[in-house]
Every structure is written in structure tokens, then in C-alpha cells.
């Protein structure tokens, strides 16, 4: 297997929103430091925001809200399981961030008086500022390219290099050529998203996820194997958005007067329907699929919605609605449950980070969906991308170089590839992935119970062993998919284990345990998972959440 070598100062794994911002910030701080990005496919349109975005989800707008307000709202949303300090620093920096984005040409519409549109999307307070930027990804991409970042496309990180307890780079796999690339680095930033391809989708299409389907829990698996702490693995998310195509639509329409209806035409959830309301209607009462109705609205409002959806977010969505014969003026939009996934930006899953985006392993940072900054969305990705860059810049000042021998990692990967190529595999990797995700859905979908969760761990361990022997590999693409499925399996084991340890129900459907149906205050803690003596030894512990902001008594208007 051909192996090439390179060296850099900071290696970023994943070139989406968080990774792009980290790259930009690293170069802004010091043009001379070498910045390399490993990107699984091609970075130009990669990640969960491939084109544009319609909002900056969390902004502390002067005169409208404060960072303390945000912590109050987030504590409600997360039922107290929240490290306040990282979320606080994110909220504190959000206004500055927005100004910086504007200076790069990102458009935030204002009314005639110069006010931004600030919408309510949290249980309390208004934090979401409307953005109208169809070329967000391109703006970021052009910026880090001009600043001189090195992009290594078509490269999936398979292993972090660890030198005496410090992260010292990564081994990457070229998804087209099958070659390996060893990147020695003084620090690594994980920004590879969450686990979008996790549960099985009801529409049968394995790549139609809400988050980017290229996100297969790589960051979680890499961090875990390097010994970093992770949390929120039990927060198994399902959203309720446009049925089958999984496009977000809810608050774009509801904030313009659209109605959310159940199957018998009743309005659902009052003025701020949450996903919990929707799951109650759909599963508890059986009154799904819910629908968004706009036919009563003036045509200018409908046109505004169409403009946002079809020009800002994902222009191809227009074809979806046309194909369904859905014209917002006279037909309702059907909503439905997404497949199950793990995510730091929409949920609380991720590498445990401090206020500087540092993980518990020196030299390793995390940002975006890969990091635990509860429900941080795009603001979290951007701010923590910046924080990771700032921390890494300081950290590497004290380091001349790291000498980590990559040979054992290369040997392990090479052997695995050889086994897969030379075995008499009989199952396509697509079928293996299908079965993996079907198993995850069977045993991890809430309501959970101890029996199902322990079966999940058992079966997932068997599947991990079986994969190299049973999968028929005929192309490098198959090897790539096999590595992704391994990470999905790793995440399933962590998720089932964490779910078993959290012996209570919390966060509505997302961690409902039929055998422990009540919320237990003793569990108003973070559940941390960490590698023990080997990869198979998943240790867990409960840890008090950081309450430094509330304790300061800062919750005042």
C-alpha cells in the first residue's frame, strides 16, 4: 500500500463550516503557520451546509437578548444537562462573529429602520437572526484558499497519531486511490460533523439525511480511540421536518404565519410548536403526518418563503415540491420524522470541550457537530472553529515537532485492507451498511430499554468483527464505505452503552427509557464516555455540569 508523508502545524479534519472557519482564523492569527485540511470528498461544497444558509441560529443581539438569557433558554431546552461556560462564550462572541461574516459579504437582511429579523427558536427568548446568503460555503472557501491553507481532498482520516498522550497528526486514506497519507502535525482540530448516517430512514434512501450523509461519526470514533472524553451519545435525535427529503422548513414558514396542522386539521403546538409536540401528535395520538399550510397567507409571504427555500438553502428542493405537485399557494407540505442521528449542533453529542475548544487530550480540539457545545448550530460551528484555531495557535508555540512513529497505525490499516480485499466476501458494503443501520434502528430507537440496548452492543460488536470477513470489496470506494460503516458501528456501541447508563428518561423522545420512564434529578449530569484499556473497553461516568454562569447570578434582563 503506497504511503506518502507530509508535515503541517495544524491539521483540520473536515472542511465544513467549523473546519473552514478554523482554517481562516489560524491564518488570520499567523500567516506563517501551516494549515492543512483533510476533506473526505471535495471541500468546495462539502459538509452540512454545501451551498447557503437562511439563518445564524444563535446571536446575542444588543438590545434584544444577552448571553445570560441564552444560557437560561438552553438550560430549559437541555433540561439542565449543559456545560454553561462553552455555550456562554459562544453566545458572547456571536455578535462579533455576525459582524465579521458581514464584512466578508454574508448578507443579513434588515428592515427600513435597520433592524435585523430576530426569530424565536428556543423555549425562551429570540436568538435566531435571518441570514440570506446562498453562497455561504463559497465565501468561506474563497477566504481560506486566499489565505493559503493546504487542502487535501478525497482523504478520510482513519487514525489520530498519539505521541506520549499528545495528538500529533493523523493517517489519512485516499478514497479514490486507496493510498495512505501520514500527516504529522503539532495540533489537530476535529470538525468532521456528527453521525448523520446512523439509523435507518423510512424512505429507504440511505443518503437522504438532514445532516450531510458524508458525516459518519468519524470525529467521535477518532477522538474516542485517541482517549478523549465524549458526551451526549445517548441523545439519539430525530427531527420532524419535510417528509422524505428532510429539508428544514418549520420556522421559516411558521414565523410568517403558516399553520401547523395534524391529520384532522387541528393546529398543533400554539405559537411555538416544538419537535416534542410533533412527536406527541404523530406517535402518541397517531395524528401524523403533520402538515404546514400556507394557502391562507398573502402571496408576498409565500413568495418570501419560496425565495428563501429555493434560492438560499438548496435550490434543488424546488424540484421536489414540483414533483409532488405541491404549490404552497394551494397544497400543504407534509412533515415527517427523520432517521435517527447523533449531532453536536442539533443535539448535545460530541467531544467534550472547554471554552477554548480543547478536548481532554492535549493537542486535540473539536468544533461544530463534532464537539459538545449543546445545540450550538451554525454559531457553535463558527465560534468554536475560531476558538479551536486560537487555542491551537497558542498551544503549538511551545512545540518544535512531534516524533510519532506511524508504522503501527499503517500496519493495522494495511492489514485490514488486505483482509477485506483478499477475503471471499459475499455481501456488498451497501447491504452491510443497511443491516448495520437497521440494527441500530431496531435496538436504539426510543423508547429504549435495557434488553434492547444490551442486544445493540452485542450485535454491533459481532458486526464489527464480521465486517472485514464478510464484505466483498471490489473497488477503493467499497473500502471507503467499509471504514465509514466501522465508525457508524463504533458510534452505535457508544450510544447504546451511554443509553444503558442513563437510567432515566430525559429530553422527550430522544432518550426515553420504557424501563425508567421518569426523569431523575440524580442524572442532571453529563454522561461521559471514554476509552478504557482498549477500544472495546467503554468506560462511563456521570459528571456535574458546569453551572458557572447561573451560579454567578447572571440571569437578569
Amino acid at each position: 500500500m503506497k504511503v506518502s508523508y507530509m508535515e503541517t502545524d495544524v491539521l483540520i479534519i473536515g472542511g465544513g463550516s467549523a473546519g473552514s472557519m478554523a482554517a481562516i482564523r489560524l491564518k488570520e492569527l499567523n500567516r506563517d503557520q501551516k494549515v492543512t485540511i483533510f476533506e473526505k470528498a471535495n471541500i468546495k461544497f462539502s459538509g452540512s451546509i454545501p451551498r447557503g444558509m437562511d439563518a445564524l441560529n444563535i446571536v446575542t443581539v444588543p438590545g434584544i437578548n444577552t448571553a445570560e438569557d441564552y444560557i437560561e433558554a438552553q438550560n430549559i431546552a437541555c433540561e439542565g444537562v449543559l456545560d454553561e461556560a462553552p455555550s456562554y462564550v459562544m453566545a458572547k462572541r456571536s455578535w462579533e462573529l455576525m459582524k465579521e461574516l458581514q464584512s466578508w459579504g454574508v448578507f443579513f437582511p434588515t428592515d427600513k429602520a435597520g433592524n435585523y429579523e430576530v426569530l424565536k427558536t428556543t423555549p425562551k427568548g429570540r436568538f435566531t437572526v435571518t441570514m440570506r446568503e446562498p453562497n455561504l460555503k463559497t465565501i468561506l472557501h474563497d477566504r481560506f484558499t486566499k489565505l493559503g491553507c493546504t487542502v487535501v481532498n478525497h482523504t478520510m482520516a482513519l487514525q489520530l497519531l498519539v505521541d506520549n498522550g499528545h495528538v500529533a497528526g493523523a493517517v489519512g486514506f485516499n478514497i479514490r486511490t486507496g493510498e495512505l497519507i501520514v500527516c504529522h502535525a503539532k495540533a489537530v482540530i476535529l470538525s468532521a460533523g456528527g453521525t448523520a448516517r446512523f439509523g435507518l430512514p423510512e424512505n429507504g434512501y440511505l443518503y437522504g439525511n438532514y445532516d450531510c450523509p458524508a458525516n459518519t461519526g468519524d470525529a467521535y470514533s477518532l477522538a474516542y480511540r485517541a482517549g478523549a472524553e465524549l458526551t451526549g451519545l445517548e441523545y439519539t435525535l430525530r427531527y420532524y421536518i419535510v417528509k422524505d427529503i428532510n429539508c428544514p422548513l418549520l420556522y421559516i414558514t411558521l414565523t410568517r404565519g403558516a399553520k401547523l396542522l395534524n391529520a384532522i386539521g387541528e393546529e398543533v403546538g400554539g405559537d411555538h410548536p416544538g419537535i416534542k409536540n410533533m412527536f406527541d401528535e404523530h406517535y402518541d395520538k397517531g395524528l401524523g403526518y403533520l402538515r404546514i399550510r400556507m394557502s391562507h397567507l398573502p402571496v408576498e409571504k409565500i413568495e418570501a418563503v419560496e425565495d428563501i427555500l429555493f434560492s438560499t438553502e438548496k435550490p434543488v428542493l424546488q424540484r421536489y415540491f414540483e414533483g409532488k405537485g405541491v404549490n404552497f399557494r394551494n397544497r400543504d407540505i407534509e412533515l415527517g420524522p427523520t432517521d435517527m442521528y447523533l449531532c453536536g449542533g442539533h443535539g448535545i453529542t460530541g467531544v467534550v470541550v472547554d471554552t477554548g475548544a480543547a478536548s481532554t487530550v492535549p493537542g486535540l480540539y473539536a468544533a461544530g457537530d463534532s464537539a459538545n457545545v449543546n445545540r450550538g448550530h451554525l454559531t457553535g460551528a463558527f465560534v468554536f472553529g475560531q476558538l479551536a484555531a486560537e487555542s491551537a495557535t497558542e498551544y503549538i508555540k511551545g512545540i518544535s515537532s512531534r516524533q510519532c512513529d506511524p508504522a503501527p497505525y499503517i500496519a493495522e490499516i494495511t492489514e485490514k485492507c488486505q483482509v477485506m480485499e483478499e477475503n471471499q466476501g459475499f455481501v456488498s458494503i451497501e447491504e452491510f451498511e443497511y443491516k448495520t443501520r437497521r440494527t441500530i434502528t431496531d435496538y436504539l430507537t426510543p423508547p429504549k430499554n435495557e434488553y434492547k440496548l444490551s442486544r445493540a452492543v452485542e450485535i454491533m460488536r459481532e458486526m464489527k468483527k464480521a465486517l472485514p470477513r464478510h464484505v466483498k470489496v471490489s473497488r477503493t470506494h467499497d473500502l471507503w464505505k467499509a471504514f465509514e460503516v466501522e465508525n457508524i458501528i463504533d458510534c452505535a456501541i457508544l450510544s447504546a452503552t451511554a443509553s444503558m447508563e442513563r437510567k432515566e428518561s430525559r429530553w422527550g423522545y430522544w432518550h426515553h427509557r420504557a424501563d425508567y420512564p421518569k426523569t431523575d434529578p440524580a442524572y442532571t449530569k453529563l454522561l461521559i464516555v471514554k476509552r478504557g484499556s482498549c477500544d472495546d473497553d467503554v468506560t462511563t461516568r456521570l459528571r456535574e455540569p458546569d453551572k458557572s454562569i447561573s451560579l454567578k447570578g447572571g440571569n437578569q434582563q
Binding site: R51, Y205, I245, V316, H477
Partner: protein
């Protein structure tokens, strides 16, 4: 019609194959692109970046 529609404007530059964020586009012997894997996320980057306006990406059959 499903998948990637390619009209006669295509002159085989290969940009679509290069920039696909799911790496699921390949080009055939005549350098014309097609979806080699059922892994499209319909982001529309291929359509946007095509310098010839030769591409139209459809929503996958299972979804639409």
C-alpha cells in the same frame, strides 16, 4: 428521468466529477458524467459549477 441529466452542451471537462461532495460522479469513456453510486445528496453543486450548463440533478426516486 432520475439521477444526473446530461445534455449535449457537455464537453467533458470533468469539473462535476471533481467537486462532488459525495464523490459519486464519474465520467464514462466519452468523458460524460453519470452517478456511479446511489449516494447523491442533491446539493446541486454539479449543476451550479458546470461551465456549460449541461447538467440537471434530479431528486432520487426513493425520495420524490
Amino acid at each position: 428521468m432520475y439521477g444526473l441529466e446530461v445534455n449535449s452542451n457537455c464537453f467533458g471537462c470533468g469539473i462535476c466529477e471533481e467537486i462532488c461532495p459525495m464523490d459519486c460522479i464519474r465520467t464514462d469513456a466519452e468523458e460524460k458524467p453519470y452517478l456511479a453510486f446511489d449516494e447523491c445528496w442533491y446539493c446541486g453543486a454539479c449543476e451550479k459549477e458546470c461551465p456549460a450548463g449541461a447538467l440537471k440533478i434530479q431528486i432520487p426516486f426513493l425520495i420524490c
